[in-house]
Amino acid sequence: MDFGDSPDEGAFRLRLREWLAANNPGLPPSSTADEYWAGQAAWHQTLYVAGFFGLSWPVEAGGHGLPSVYEVILDEELIAAGAPPRPSVGYLVQGLLEHGNADVRQRFLPGLVSGRDRWCQGFSEPDAGSDLASLRTRAVREGSEYVITGHKVWTSYSDQADWCLVLARTHPDAPKHRGISAFVVPMRQAAIEQRPLTMINGITREFGEVIFDGARVDAANMIGEPGEGWRLAMTIVSHEREPGELGYVGRYGKLVKELAQIVRGRPADFGAEQRRDLAWAMVEAEMLRCHVSRRLSDRLDGITHGPEGSVDKLLMTWTEQSVGHAALAIGGIAPAAVQDDTWLRVYLYSRAQSVMGGTSQIQRNLIAARILEMPTA
């Protein structure tokens, strides 16, 4: 049991540290402003070109084939440098690796990993949220294509996306979990309308809804077999719940560090309650770093797709929301429009974490059923 670096890991860390010292783009705190999302795409490509992204993914996928724990080294060094967290595309990569055939993996993974192509995920619908399997978007075969009609919502990055991983019903008469297939749909076509949604913290670049009105997709862009979309969806959402795939250790570490700097700079302005909120954010962020180290170590001999993601999701959520509370306590509410409301935005954004990727209530249901083996009603 060793949290320390091997000689190779230590050398990598130093190389990364040197590079970061000269290449930190200095974006605002994550998800606080449209400027962040605008700069994030360039940051993805910069990290990739320098050889510091996709560390643990296979070389064929555009990754580096390094042991899983290199990802947490990356997170730690991003925090130390005050750099933005790594891009959150790991769950898509894991889904395509697990369910895509050779052709799909070859065509799509390198662009996804390098940041050349932007992706979004068309899962949720207005009437299919937690009950995802009740989704109604349809895909009908026409020759060598499928025609997609439906309405997707809570689609992160839909405004920038080149591709959308869409779940659509191909077998309307099959039981609801079995009639779904998954497609990689090109977003740049007239039959797709993208409408941005403004989140409660005011940002418009992250969240959207997407209307598919007879959009076309090559049948070769189906991931897995017809009717197997649910399995892919479960693989993806299980990894979407993992801070190790999302790089969120880096996200929280950076925010906590910035909050600590504020308190250090104006110590007289902050009392016991604010300091206590900050201390909890520090403790939670440290817990998550240790937890991700443990989870990624468990993958050193290969990845599994199990219910542990729900545990990780709740730990990540509690961390994000305690960071959010510290941000609110220290940054304040910015009562007048002229004041900097960065930290208010961080707080408001944190409320989404207990909903996105599966609500906290759903995670608790999954943990009770699949880990604690509670009886069903």
Partner: protein
């Protein structure tokens, strides 16, 4: 980095789990079974686990704090009513002070609130000092500030015998009536760094105990939720109960991750970094353990509030481990200090 337990550590864990499972508590009434308790004590004595931090032939302790934590977690989970934390901390103190291993069971002496080592004034320990985890111990060690000694010298004080305390599995003791500390003439002084590292060990072992207690309390409650029926169905089929238990599991897993890191840090990084890791872990585990044990009581309903239900034995053990070298508040303050935003930086 590979934070999985090694095959040797897994074997150690399995053997501690086996002893604690076979000879630890399965019901509150087991506390009165002196024959069982004696067998447990003999098994732990024979295992050598209390001497993991004693000086090895090669120099340094026989085992790292990770091995100690692995054992502590299993003893906590099984509610092992035998001494481990106290003798382990005493053995580490002896090693750090260059003294030979103890010839009789001993523990360490803390302040009345357990937050720090007891302060010795004019050769006397305070009457309200507490010898923690003192079952079977006739003496307790205490590092004493001696002017001109270049650090703290190790002293020992005779104890007044076991006294009941919050934790039904690990009775505390208090100094005997003389309260006189006898300073060891031999050995080397303990500098601040050694004391800090030793305290980090204490925090890490307490955290591991808390993780074990959380596992035990959660198992107890989950078993009960699967069996207990109301409205004709097991109460574990209700989401309200499921969600309480799920939160408890998540808190336990988060605690385990941060506690493992603190244990590793004791021997692997600078004493400052180890102290920061230990403080963060203790704040997290102490808060989590109280919540998990309270959940265990809640899920048991009425029976959970009776003496005969084991849930309060877990809670009581958690309350003691939580306060060893400080609970939530003290350790949050230490975390702030470690990040340069504490005490001396002008913060209120």
């Amino acid at each position: 980095m590979d934070v999985r337990l090694s095959p040797e550590q897994i074997a150690l864990r399995d053997s501690a789990a086996q002893v604690a499972g076979r000879l630890g508590l399965h019901a509150v009434a087991d506390l009165d079974e002196t024959e069982r308790a004696a067998k447990l004590d003999a098994a732990v004595s024979a295992s050598g686990w209390r001497e993991l931090r004693a000086e090895s032939d090669a120099g340094g302790p026989w085992a790292s704090a990770v091995e100690v934590a692995v054992v502590a977690e299993e003893l906590g989970r099984g509610l092992a009513d035998t001494a481990f934390l106290g003798p382990t901390l005493a053995a580490d103190l002896r090693r750090l002070a260059g003294l030979p291993p103890a010839t009789a069971p001993e523990t360490v002496l803390l302040t009345s609130g357990l937050g720090e080592v007891a302060e010795v004034v004019d050769g006397l320990v305070p009457a309200d000092a507490v010898a923690v985890d003192a079952r079977g111990a006739a003496t307790a060690l205490v590092p004493v500030l001696v002017s001109g000694a270049g650090g703290r010298r190790l002293g020992e004080v005779a104890l007044g015998g076991d006294a009941a305390g919050v934790d039904l599995t690990r009775p505390a003791s208090q100094p005997g009536s003389s309260r006189t500390v006898t300073i060891f003439e031999t050995g080397t002084p303990l500098d601040d760094e050694a004391v800090t590292r030793w305290r980090s060990l204490g925090l890490a072992v307490a955290c591991a105990d808390l993780v074990g207690v959380m596992r035990g309390a959660l198992n107890l409650a989950a078993d009960y939720a699967r069996e207990r029926k109301q409205y004709g169905v097991p109460i574990g089929s209700f989401q309200a109960v499921q969600h309480l238990l799920a939160d408890a599991l998540v808190l336990m897993e988060g605690s385990r991750s941060i506690a493992l890191h603190a244990a590793w840090a004791v021997d692997a990084v600078s004493s400052r970094e180890a102290a920061a890791a230990a403080a963060a872990a203790k704040a997290y585990c102490a808060r989590a353990a109280r919540s998990v044990c309270e959940t265990a009581i809640q899920v048991h309903g009425g029976i959970g509030n009776t003496w005969e239900c084991l849930a309060h034995v877990f809670l009581r053990r958690a309350l003691l481990s939580s306060d060893v070298f400080g609970g939530v508040g003290v350790n949050l303050e230490r975390v702030l200090v470690a990040h340069g935003v504490g005490g001396t930086d002008g913060l209120r």
